[in-house]
Symmetry: C2
Subunit: 175 residues, 2 copies
DNA sequence: CCTTTCGGTTCAGTCACTGAACCAACCATG
DNA sequence: CATGGTTGGTTCAGTGACTGAACCGAAAGG
């Protein structure tokens, strides 16, 4: 967490985790990465994050092995940030946090997450009640709920309105 | 999150949740509250948090309905902070975060969490593999693992070495 | 009285985040 | 070849959050 490093004295894996992903914006960057966002500019417009902070977060997330920087075209040279296994492993945490936020505060259904195989909506821990299993991230389909703005300003939010699998790269029609 | 409030534009319950518990130290305070810590001074020595920050966190957590301030003796007047249902509902998030931190970084077993009924160790989502259910927080027993310092300096850490149920108030022998 | 405990508040200093400006590499266009 | 657009940054001044130490007040306890 960079501030004072005091979590180091905590002898606790929660504290250890927060050292890595506890800074402002970090978990939202990981969330977007799981949603399929990969490019600097897409993170930027979707999160509304200051450029300097985004650059810093992408760097530390890469250094911690949560994202991987990958060249996807040579000319002009362009890199994308792809979420790794270690990042994918944060899905249950994000899912639990989101469930808590919605249950305790919002109420509105913003997005549905379903088991791709059977269409069942996931439980709060990312499990499929029908199949009785924890659904792997690649088998989760995300689709918009009634609470979501149907005509958002930025192209990334617009692209996220289409039902899609988690991790599947986002296609932004730059219109 | 108090910084700029930009999460408000996120249309996302994860962002909503982070508005409330995303600030530095906040989740660790909630963790301690679930472990049974209730008193200002116990939070203080166990977390090593600046007094001003602790006071601020306790206030906002109380305002958000995650903790409840409660007078436990009249003379001298003393209050304790008890975790509410809303705070208890953060247990799956903390559990997931802790599992992630240990699996991805630490490795060392610091604490075991078991289903009180049957003694089975909880899975990463707080479920009991034997009973096949999500274990309610009141039925979780916490005990020290081999990775934990067996003779810590502060009395709170020492009190947390004894196996105990979650939520059960901590008894600090002020020795 | 005098001291200690508990639960804070105050304050100066530091560090992180913010927002705007700037920059460099590369491509497309005329 | 100049111009402008796109992408992915860096720099920098200003603000706000966190830190650590000091101080404070109420209420025992001796």
């Amino acid at each position: 967490m960079a501030l004072g490093k005091d979590y180091a004295t905590q002898e606790c894996s929660i504290a250890r985790a927060l050292e890595v992903v506890g800074e402002r914006w970090t978990l939202l960057v990981v969330r977007d990465a799981l949603y399929g966002v990969r490019r600097y500019n897409d993170f930027l417009v979707h999160l509304g994050i200051p450029r300097a902070v985004l650059a810093a977060r992408l760097q530390t997330l890469t250094a911690e092995g949560i994202l991987e920087k990958r060249r996807y075209q040579q000319s002009p040279p362009r890199d994308e940030y792809v979420v790794t296994e270690r990042g994918i492993a944060l899905w249950p945490t994000l899912r639990a946090l989101g469930s808590w936020g919605r249950e305790q505060f919002d109420g509105a259904r913003l997005r549905y997450f379903r088991h791709a195989e059977c269409g069942t909506e996931l439980g709060p821990y990312g499990e499929c009640a029908l199949c009785g299993t924890i659904v792997p991230v690649t088998d989760v389909v995300m689709e918009p709920g009634p609470g979501l703005d149907p005509d958002p300003a930025d192209p990334v939010s617009r692209a996220l309105l289409k039902p899609k699998r988690l991790l599947e790269p986002l296609e932004t029609d730059q219109a």
